[in-house]
């Protein structure tokens, strides 16, 4: 029961929180560009509209694949907040991402293919950082369970600053922010216009949007974990992290995929890997 409640709360409330976060994101982005911006509830209007557009799938596979994308992402988050093994969470998270890639590959559009390939590159770039983060969290707190890590009171951020910075870098990709919005962007100024969602519209796109809300809350939960020894501090850190991501989004042009991949792996190796090595070298437990 103790495990079920947070998992259920995530499954029910994450879309709500994620949607509000997306709305706040758009307003903050607009203010950074000296605009007024849309209403806070705009992402919900958008998703409601997409559902009302009915089915516009180009084949019978897209919708079920998008549905799996949503279900596995919700499962990953529920596992994470329910106190499941963080390594398992990362694997389920990756499976969820792969369903989106499969949905994009199922269409015949070359733009959809380019988007799907770029999404694979993003998964490839982000994976090592996530796995090293899990290993480092275990090294410091002795657990891979969200609640146990939070309860241990271990100040993860003090011992894992490198891992956290690396995670921040990778978060830019996963939140689909510039300069790493290679496969899909919320802005209209990209050369491969809507990348991975080129052929995904209507209710399929609505599912993908909701999944993205689930994903964002899960990732911010990971940020929370680094400051979990103090809940107010952790919430402030999560808010600041997201704000800095929005700032990066509005102040950076997109980079090429080669640079995105190589820079992420370099940073992962140097910052996160170095951090982990230093932990072992300096001993402790």
């Amino acid at each position: 029961m103790e495990k079920l409640m947070p998992a259920l709360a995530y499954a029910l409330l994450a879309p709500l929180a994620g949607g509000l976060l997306a709305g706040a994101d758009r307003i903050v982005s607009a203010r950074m560009q000296r605009r007024v911006g849309p209403p806070l509830l705009q992402p919900f209007y958008d998703v409601a509209k997409l559902f009302s557009k009915g089915d516009v799938e180009v084949n019978s596979l897209q919708y079920p694949l998008a549905l799996c994308h949503l279900l596995f992402m919700a499962l990953a988050g529920a596992l994470f907040f329910g106190g499941g093994d963080i390594l398992l969470v990362i694997f389920v998270f990756t499976v969820a991402a792969l369903f989106l890639v499969a949905a994009a590959f199922s269409s015949a559009s070359p733009y959809s293919f380019v988007g799907a390939e770029r999404e694979l590159i993003i998964i490839l770039a982000a994976e090592p950082a996530l796995l090293i983060a899990a290993a480092a969290i275990y090294k410091v707190s002795g657990s891979l369970n969200f609640h146990a890590v939070a309860a241990s009171g271990a100040p993860l951020i003090k011992q894992l600053p490198g891992v956290f910075l690396c995670l921040f870098y990778v978060l830019t990709m996963k939140l689909r922010k510039s300069p790493f919005d290679l496969s899909y962007s919320h802005h209209a100024h990209q050369e491969i216009v809507k990348g991975i969602t080129t052929d995904l519209g209507g209710r399929t796109l609505a599912l993908i949007e909701i999944t993205h809300w689930y994903e964002n809350i899960l990732l911010l939960g990971l940020v929370y974990l680094f400051f979990a020894f103090s809940a107010p501090l952790a919430l402030a850190a999560v808010a600041l992290t997201y704000f800095l991501e929005v700032l990066a989004d509005n102040t950076n042009a997109r980079v090429r995929w080669q640079l995105a991949l190589s820079s992420t792996w370099t940073i992962t190796l140097l910052l996160a890997g170095g951090n982990l090595l230093a932990l072992y070298a300096l001993g402790g437990n």
């Binding site: 605009r35 009915g54 209209a188 809507k194 969602t197 519209g201």
Partner: protein, 143 residues
Amino acid sequence: MSLKKSPWLLHYDGSSCNGCDIEVLACLTPLYDAERFGVINTGNPRHADLLLLTGSINHQNEEVVRNLYAQMPEPKVVLAVGICATSGGVFADCYNVKGGADKVLPVDVYVPGCAARPEAIIDGIVRALGVLEQKRAAAEAKK
């Protein structure tokens, strides 16, 4: 209700001189900020509710325009922005020009002008939303 609050548009430049296109983009700038009404310039027909055409229709872009329109999910509306998209304008009699957008597509809203003012374009979009709602109501009534 939700259709009205989230108009995503696809902008296609037929054979415009770019005057109207600049004005369309001006709608998204801080001064006019069309995103206040939820407007997103998607660039992808499968995501679009509104097809915004500028410039006249000629023999080369006719197929492109038809193709874009066919890829948009129902319900959808077409806006002809600028006098060239409305009627062909001063180019109407050119040998290569077929005329306004209504030569190939069912245009719902005309926004004349050379170039069309951003205020007029936003007004056109808001009117198009009314048409969008009507189309949806008609589709539901058919069911």
